[in-house]
C-alpha cells in the first residue's frame, strides 16, 4: 500500500477576539492510501470540514494552520508550498467536491466552460480536445446526452445533475485524491444512491484515494475502507470500517450509531447523543465528550490519549481496555 497523503498533528486556530486562539482542529493525524477511501465522520462543528480545507490550504482568514502541523503529499511538504507550486496540487492532484454544488458552480458559465477551464489551467490541450474530454467526463459521471449538456448552465440542472457536474470538474484535473465533503447531504435518497455509485465506480476506474466527509454512518458502510470519527477537533476513534461497525467503542461513536434510523431489524426508539457539539473554545477540560457522555468515569477530568481497543482500533476514551499504547 502506498501512502499518498500523510497528515500529522494538524492544528487549525482562529483568534477568539480576546487575544487568545481557539483550535477547532486540534491535533489530527491520519493518512490516505492510493485507491482507498477514508471516511471522516462526525457532527457539524466537529472540525471535519476544516480539516479537509486545511489539506488544500484553504483555511478561511483569519484562521491559520499552526506551526508544528505537517501535511505531506508524497514527498511534497504541502505547508511549505507557495504560488504556482500550490496551484499545481490544488484542483489538480487533490480535488474537492462540496455539499452544495449550486454555490460552488459559477452561474454565468456553462458546464463545458467550467470543466475545460480546469483542463486548460493544468494541461496543454487544444480547445477541441478539451471539449471532447469534457463530454467524456460528463458521460462518465452519468449525465445523459453529454454533448448537449456542455452548453447547459447550472440553473438548468437538477441538484443531482449539478453534483455530477461538480464531480466531472473535480476529475478534469485527473486528481490522485478526491476530497468529498458531505457530497450527498442535500440530495434525495435516490439521487444520493446514484451519486455514491458514481463515486465508487470512479475510485475504482481512476485508482483515486477518497477522503469522504460525512455525518451519516449509513453511507460509510460498504464504501470506506477505514473510518476516523471526529469530535471537538480531535479524532476520537479510528479503525478499519468492518472493525468499527462490529465494535463501535467510543460512547460518541455509539451515540452516532444510535441515531441512525434503520429499515430492518426490530423497530426501536432512536437513542441519540444528548445536546449539541459545544463550539470550539468552550470544550470542557479533560475528556471533551464528558459533558454529553452517558458514561461517568473517574478519570474523565483528565484528557485521554488515543488508547488501544484491539489491534488497529484506537479510541480517545479511558474505557479502552488495554491502557496506553
Amino acid at each position: 500500500m502506498t501512502t499518498l497523503l500523510d497528515i500529522h498533528d494538524l492544528h487549525v486556530s482562529f483568534p477568539d477576539g480576546d487575544g487568545a486562539r481557539v483550535r477547532p482542529v486540534d491535533g489530527v493525524s491520519f493518512s490516505l492510501e492510493r485507491g482507498r477511501t477514508l471516511a471522516l465522520v462526525g457532527e457539524s462543528g466537529c472540525g471535519k470540514s476544516l480539516t479537509s480545507l486545511a489539506i488544500l490550504r484553504l483555511v478561511p482568514s483569519p484562521g491559520r494552520i499552526d506551526p508544528g502541523s505537517s501535511i505531506r503529499f508524497g514527498d511534497v511538504d504541502v505547508l511549505a508550498l507557495e504560488g504556482e507550486a500550490l496551484r499545481r496540487i490544488r484542483g489538480r492532484r487533490i480535488a474537492m467536491i462540496f455539499q452544495d454544488p449550486m454555490t460552488s458552480l459559477n452561474p454565468v458559465f456553462n458546464v463545458g466552460d467550467q470543466i475545460t477551464e480546469v483542463m486548460h489551467a493544468h494541461f496543454t490541450i487544444t480547445r477541441r480536445d478539451a471539449r471532447d474530454a469534457a463530454a467524456e467526463l460528463l458521460q462518465e459521471v452519468g449525465i445523459p446526452d453529454p454533448r448537449a449538456r456542455l452548453k447547459a448552465y447550472p440553473h438548468q440542472l437538477s441538484g443531482g445533475m449539478r453534483q455530477r457536474v461538480m464531480i466531472a470538474i473535480a476529475l478534469a484535473g485527473k486528481p490522485e485524491i478526491l476530497i468529498a465533503d458531505e457530497p450527498t447531504t442535500a440530495l434525495d435518497v435516490t439521487v444520493q444512491a446514484q451519486i455514491l455509485e458514481v463515486l465508487d465506480r470512479l475510485r475504482e476506474s481512476h485508482g483515486m484515494a477518497v477522503l469522504l466527509i460525512t455525518h451519516d454512518l449509513g453511507i460509510v458502510a460498504g464504501r470506506a475502507d477505514r473510518v476516523a470519527v471526529m469530535y471537538a477537533g480531535q479524532i476520537v476513534e479510528t479503525a478499519p470500517t468492518a472493525t468499527l461497525f462490529a465494535n463501535p467503542s467510543h460512547p460518541y461513536t455509539q451515540g452516532l450509531f444510535g441515531s441512525v434510523p434503520r429499515l430492518t431489524g426490530p423497530l426501536a426508539r432512536l437513542s441519540p447523543i444528548a445536546g449539541n457539539v459545544p463550539p470550539a473554545g468552550r470544550w470542557p477540560t479533560g475528556c471533551r465528550f464528558r459533558t454529553r457522555c452517558p458514561v461517568v468515569h473517574e478519570r474523565s477530568e483528565t484528557e485521554p490519549p488515543l488508547l488501544r481497543v484491539e489491534p488497529d482500533h484506537e479510541m480517545r476514551c479511558w474505557l479502552a481496555g488495554d491502557g496506553p499504547r
Partner: protein, 342 residues
C-alpha cells in the same frame, strides 16, 4: 406501530386534490400547466402520523401546503374535523388555522431574524388571543420552550444564535403555541445531522403521545419515516402510487417505485447485502408527464409492457397495501429487504 383511534372518523379527509401551476411569462397562455398535484386522496386519523414520501418535485410539499390553504387548490376537497376547508371564508379559516399548523424544513428562513425567539413563539398566541396578560404569555412561551427541550431563557435571544436542531425546536414550539391538533411536518429533519435528526424525531413522537397530535409527515427517507409513521403514502409525479400501513408497506412493498426508494436508503451495516436498485435519471417533468403509468420511464419491473405505456394504473388493493401498478401482484424484485439479492 398500530393505528390509534382507527375506528373513529378521520380528523382530516382529502379527496381529488389537484394543484396546477400556470406557466408565467410571454408565452404563458400556450404553455402547459405544471401538474404538481394530480388527484390525491388521503386521510389522517386523530393521533395518527401519515407519512407522505417521494423525491423532490413529486408534489408532496404542495399537498401539505394546499391542505392548510397556504396555497389555493385548483380542485378537490379537504374536510378537517367536519369543516370544508376550501369553502371557508377568511374569518372562520383563520380560526381553523389555529388547529392546523406547519413546521418547515428550514426553520431559519421561516423565523424573522430581528424577532426574539420568545416573540416568534408568542406570535400565534397573540394573533389568536390565547393569553390575556403579558405575564401569562411569557409563562406560556417559557413552558413551550421547555416542552421542546430548550432553556426558557432562550426566549430573549435571536434565531441566528442557534444551531439547526435548536432552530427546528423553536419552529416546533411556535407551531405548538396555538395548541393545534394537526401539524404538517414538511421535511422537518432532512437538513439536520443524524444525531440531531434523531433528537427531533423522538421529540415529535413524544409530543404526539402527550398531546394526541396528528401529523402529515413529509419526507424522502423511508428509514426516518419508519420511526414515526403509522401509515405511509408514496407519491410520484403528483399522484399517490402506493399507500398502506407502515409495517406492511415497508416489509412488502408492491410498487416498483416504493421498492426503489427502499433500496436507496443507506444502512449502517457493512455485512448486510440488500437488493440495490439505483433508479436511472430524474423523474420526468410534471409539465409533461408521460402517458400511461407515470413511472414507466424509469420502471425496472420485469413484466412492464405496452399496457404500462398506455393505461394509467388505478390505486387498488394488492396484498396489504393499495398500489397503482398493473403488475403489483408480482414483485419487481425477489425481495427488497431480504439478504443475498446482490
Amino acid at each position: 406501530m398500530s393505528v390509534p383511534h382507527a375506528a373513529s372518523a378521520p380528523l382530516l379527509q382529502v379527496s381529488d386534490l389537484v394543484k396546477h401551476y400556470k406557466a408565467e411569462g410571454l408565452f404563458a397562455a400556450k404553455a402547459p400547466p405544471v401538474k404538481a398535484v394530480d388527484g390525491v386522496a388521503l386521510a389522517v386519523a386523530r393521533g395518527e402520523t401519515l407519512a407522505l414520501v417521494g423525491e423532490s418535485g413529486c408534489g408532496k410539499s404542495t399537498v401539505g401546503r394546499t391542505i392548510i390553504r397556504l396555497q389555493e387548490p385548483t380542485a378537490g376537497r379537504v374536510i378537517f374535523d367536519g369543516h370544508d376547508v376550501f369553502a371557508l371564508a377568511r374569518e372562520p379559516l383563520r380560526a381553523l388555522r389555529r388547529r392546523m399548523q406547519i413546521v418547515f424544513q428550514d426553520p431559519y428562513s421561516s423565523l424573522n431574524p430581528r424577532m426574539t425567539v420568545g416573540d416568534a413563539v408568542a406570535e400565534g398566541i397573540e394573533i389568536h388571543r390565547l393569553a390575556p396578560t403579558r405575564l401569562e404569555r411569557n409563562a406560556r412561551v417559557a413552558a413551550l420552550l421547555e416542552e421542546v427541550g430548550l432553556d426558557a431563557s432562550y426566549a430573549r435571544r435571536y434565531p441566528h444564535e442557534f444551531s439547526g436542531g435548536q432552530r427546528q425546536r423553536i419552529g416546533i414550539a411556535r407551531a405548538l403555541a396555538v395548541e393545534p391538533s394537526f401539524i404538517v411536518c414538511d421535511e422537518p429533519v432532512s437538513a439536520l445531522d443524524v444525531s440531531v435528526q434523531a433528537q427531533v424525531i423522538n421529540l415529535l413522537k413524544d409530543l404526539q403521545e402527550r398531546r394526541g397530535l396528528s401529523y402529515l409527515f413529509i419526507a424522502h427517507d423511508l428509514a426516518v419515516v419508519r420511526q414515526i409513521a403509522h401509515r405511509i403514502a408514496v407519491m410520484y409525479l403528483g399522484r399517490i402510487v402506493e399507500t398502506g400501513p407502515a409495517e406492511v408497506l415497508l416489509s412488502d412493498p408492491r410498487h416498483p417505485y416504493t421498492q426503489a426508494l427502499l433500496s436507496a436508503v443507506p444502512e449502517p451495516d457493512p455485512t448486510r447485502r440488500r437488493a440495490r436498485i439505483v433508479l436511472a435519471g430524474d423523474p420526468p417533468s410534471p409539465t409533461n408527464p408521460p402517458p400511461g403509468c407515470p413511472f414507466h420511464t424509469r420502471c425496472f419491473h420485469p413484466l412492464r409492457d405496452e399496457r404500462c405505456r398506455r393505461e394509467v394504473p388505478a390505486l387498488r388493493p394488492v396484498h396489504g397495501t393499495l398500489a397503482a401498478c398493473h403488475y403489483a401482484e408480482t414483485s419487481a424484485i425477489a425481495s427488497t429487504l431480504g439478504a443475498d439479492v446482490v
